[in-house]
């Protein structure tokens, strides 16, 4: 068992070495490419090749490259993607361009590519407000998918829990429960209980500053501030609920 594990580790090490080798090779390739990426047209203006690689993690390149394009400044220059996600846009004259990968499914961050008249290139973050700001990005470009396009907004779904947790509904339901349950809990005909309640009522009434429920209601309904029209209905309901509670308590007292 132990030996097997050692072999595994060795294999992994080997793999890593191979991978780094491949990476090195790739880098060299890129450098070589850079040299022949420039052309001089007979007119004397420089034409360069913008290259890079787009990556959608977890998706095979074959599945998305056919519907994607590389666009420079709209469709002024168009490039296509290879099976491995790499791309080149050939024949680009000097200037500053915004390179974007347009795919109907996947989203990529655009990159600004500056090409000098001598054919030197650099990539930087697109900033439309501070256009001269330079935050460099690696070149050849590494375009990484930043997620799927979210074209749709979700429907407002309706569930019982949403309905029950709604403050309006809570406001309506709780007093109802109280009205129904309170008479069951205390027996109003019990003289002891009655006395206790009368006492507590007297205590409340002694506090004269407390506004009356009916007063409160009229206040609520008679001040329809125009900007709060939408809120008016809600407040009305709230008032109604309170009045129901108040009504119930008063009836109890009479009994």
């Amino acid at each position: 068992m132990c030996r097997v594990r050692r072999v595994c580790v060795a294999a992994l090490l080997l793999l890593a070495a191979a991978a780094s080798c491949a990476l090195d090779l790739k880098l060299h390739d890129d450098e070589e490419e850079d040299e022949d990426a420039m052309f001089q047209t007979p007119g004397g203006d420089v034409r360069v090749r913008v290259s890079g690689r787009a990556l959608v993690p977890g998706v095979r390149a074959q599945d998305w490259v056919a519907s994607a394009r590389v666009l420079l400044d709209g469709d002024k220059h168009v490039g296509f993607l290879r099976d491995d996600g790499s791309f080149t846009v050939s024949d680009v004259p000097s200037g500053s361009y915004v390179l974007e990968i347009s795919s109907p499914t996947y989203r990529f961050q655009p990159v600004r590519v500056d090409i000098t008249t001598t054919g030197k290139m650099r990539a930087r973050v697109v900033n439309y407000i501070k256009t001269s700001e330079v935050i460099r990005l690696p070149y050849p470009l590494q375009m990484r998918c930043i997620g799927l396009h979210s074209y749709f907004i979700p429907r407002e779904t309706w569930g019982w829990s949403d309905f029950l947790m709604n403050p309006m509904v809570l406001m309506m339901v709780l007093p109802l429960l109280i009205i129904l349950l309170l008479p069951k809990v205390f027996n109003p005909s019990d003289p002891e209980m009655r006395r206790e309640m009368e006492q507590s009522m007297n205590m409340l009434n002694s506090n004269q500053e407390l506004p009356d429920v009916s007063e409160l209601m009229t206040k609520f309904f008679s001040s329809p501030k125009s900007h709060a029209k939408a809120g008016g209905g809600a407040r009305g309901h709230r008032g109604g609920a309170q009045s129901a509670r108040g009504g119930a308590s008063r009836r109890k007292i009479k009994d």
């Binding site: 052309f39 047209t41 007979p42 090749r49 390149a61 074959q62 490259v65 056919a66 519907s67 394009r69 666009l71 400044d73 709209g74 469709d75 002024k76 220059h77 168009v78 296509f80 993607l81 290879r82 099976d83 791309f87 080149t88 050939s90 024949d91 500053s96 915004v98 974007e100 347009s102 109907p104 499914t105 989203r107 697109v126 439309y128 407000i129 256009t131 396009h149 979210s150 074209y151 749709f152 907004i153 979700p154 429907r155 407002e156 309706w158 900007h227």
Partner: protein, 967 residues
Amino acid sequence: MAWLVVRLAISVSLLYAASAVFEDQVGKFDWRQQFIGKVRFALFDTHSQASKKLLVATDKNVFASLNSRTGDLFWRHVDKTGPEGHIDALLMYGQDAVVVVGNGRLLRSWETTVGGLKWETVLDTGSFQAAALVGVQDLVKYVAVLKKSAISLHDLSSGSQIWVENLPDSDSVQYQTIYSGGNGVVFVLGVVPNSHIVIVEYKIEDGEIMNKKSVEAVWMSSLESSCAVVSSGILLCVDQITQSLYTLPLQSAEQTEMRQIHLQMLDLEVVSGFRPVLTSTQPNPAQPPLSEFFLQLSPDHHILLQFIDGLIAPLRDFNPSYLAAFATSGERTVAAVMSPKNDTACSINLFSADTGRRHLDTTIIYHMDPNGGKPNRLYVHAFLKKDDSVGYRVMVQTEDLTLTFLQQPGRVVWMREEALADVVTMEMVDLPFTGTQAELEGEFGKKAAIQDGLLPMVLKRLSSQFILLQAWLAHLWKLFYDARKPHSSVKNDVTIDILSRDEFNLQKMMLMVTASGKLFGIDSKSGTILWKQYLENIQPNSVFKLIVQRTTAHFPHPPQCTLLIKNKDTGLGSLYVFNPIFGKKSQISVPALPRPVIQTLLLPVIDQDYAKVLLLIDDQYKVTAFPSTKNVLQQLQDTASSIFFYLVDSSQGKLSGFRLRKDLSTELIWEVVIPTEVQEIVAVKGKRANEHVHSQGRVMGDRSVLYKYLNPNLLAVITESTDTHQERSFVGIFLIDGVTGRIVHEAVQRKARGPVHFVHSENWVVYVYWNSKFRRNEFSVLELFEGAELYNSTVFSSLDRPYAPQVLQQSYIFPAPINTLEATLTEKGITSRHLLVGLPSGNILSLPKMFLDPRRPELVSEQSREENLIPYAPEMPIREEWFINYNQTVSRVRGIYTAPSGLESTCLVVAYGLDIYQTRVFPSKQFDVLKDDYDYILISSVLFGLFFATMISKRLAEVKLLNRAWR
């Protein structure tokens, strides 16, 4: 902190203004059709028998793979427009397709199953002449590209250049074709017109010139199409002046002149004035071509000939025959020939290439569309059947760019209308009422109803109600009848006969005019083509203007549309009048237009048949009215003094306004000259005639009203500077009153250049330009207000407006390039407006006009909050939820057409370019109809629940009362 507040405010307002697509609405009321354009090259994948691939390259710079069973696209690559993306050649070998692009600038190899790029190489400059696959020992390894002065050989698997050689004497010799027979050499054939042919032989390995010779050919002007290589490297040419065929073995060194064979000896003759065409076939690029070839002697005469041992023998004469093509399957090569059968149909037959014998039971009948053009290309897909006989399918392309795919015995497998890849202009017309609806309308519409008296009116009402009942019953019966049938057999074919206006007028007829001169009538709900009409003899550079003269509202008069077709060079125009619902040409006599038409004007004046009057102004400022009945002329005389029109002469930078006189001549009223040395007029736009403005003003935060300046005669004129230097270029905008010529407003955007896209509507103009200093697109909005008071609130007159309007302007950064711009339009103009922006990525962005409001404050105040103004932010947001076409991108969107529907909340949108996309937008959400996801079950269950609860509680209360009474 302030930023945070702004952000917060924006996000709050977004919640309010968002109008997005819900996922369950996909495909519910929208559709997209994808097109490719006129096919220039088409190759069937013969690699495997079961392959369904058909590779096409078109004049729209599109390279695509079609499913040959259904006609649908597997994948499509849209290159840039113009000559830089032009596809010069398409070659196919195995799974790979090699494409030469941009006049030989790029060489691309595509993997055809997935559609991914394999490699791409940049070639040297030089105009492209020819490309060919080159094989060595039965294996195709290379591709050779011939330019005007050089030939290069590339490896087929990697694209790397093997060698490149300059051609000898390339300044005097026109090298035109390339040939390789798989024997290690490549021949390059060139011609010095009316002198001699040059043949250069290159070694494949290193590009060394093996042999070079010139052969005298005084009669020859061009190698293309009149020459072909047949058999084992024999150059064969045909010449119509000497009426002869010429042969020359390419490889023999000693023969220095071409052998002449008179066509007379073969009993053949080329029709005078026709350039004969030779067609040979080389099934495998690594092997020499076959010895059989077609010779076309006249537009409808082909002959199959064979070249054996230096002799030419006719195998079969096809007279008459329109088209002929070779196809190969495995080892067998066949020839398909299309010949006329009768006036409306052609028959296609298959012949074996080596003998010319007809294959039995291989006839395909091709029915020509009476409203279409003639077939002009034939592509054949041959395959071996199980019994080893050759079967075939054909694709026919016609002049009107219809692709028809047929199989035996004449079944149309699929059809594509590629003319729709180039829609020039379009209109939407309401569908007519059904007969019953029209009957009901007629009851109220007629004046006679009043004279009839009471009883006949009651009777009429009863009879029309009865008709309605009858129609309803018939409808029910149909529903019942359809329901009984199995689901698959119920056809959902849409035909003109059953089309009628729906409840909310959401379904309309789309009229599309294409550049090739083909007109289409398309059902907006399903995208079905209901009628098509090919107008012959349309010059390729024509401009079109489509005018709806009479809508469907005037039953029993049929609707009427007029198409003005104008030749761009001469300016001469003609009118084509048709019924937009059925596509039939109208019998109305059309005025002849002997002079170039420079302006058209559709007046609100209607003739006795309810057709709007169209005025056509020619270059001598004479006016022609159409229709020009006595009634119309009388009306025109009465109203002439109030009919004004304007003319634009961008070459002289002149805008001029005219007034109509009673005798239909014109007088110049005003003239504005914008000096052409500094700037030139690029576009002039008025407002749309069918636009309604609901509110006259805007309510401000302090309850006062800011009245809009709603001048229906206002023209927006966009100019661009002639100096294109980055620092000095500018874009100008003039707002000019079209009646008086008064310049209402003028604005200049410095360090800006076009292309400018703009929308002019209500009291605002929105335009987009390129800011060349900051290298970004910017939106600018101009809004015009009269102020706190209206000068004359009852009627607007351009002649009586003493006060200049207040103009507000604001600009914003738009973080994307733009292809086209349009605004939504609704029935009454109550719904808030959105701007529809076509992006190069193919998405259509619905941008609330709220964001383009010059009154957006920099600092939020109580008043601005009251007005629902979004605080100013320099960058315009682009949210993916605003893409109304989600992933249904529209390639190269060129125009967006908006039309109101019967519902105030709904605007119909058609985006066209290479593709066509139709949808509906709801700028203020669907406030006038129940939502799609309206929960009928919930509402009904709540209702029923309450009902039963009442019943039960009533019963309980009764019992309780009874019990109490008993106590």
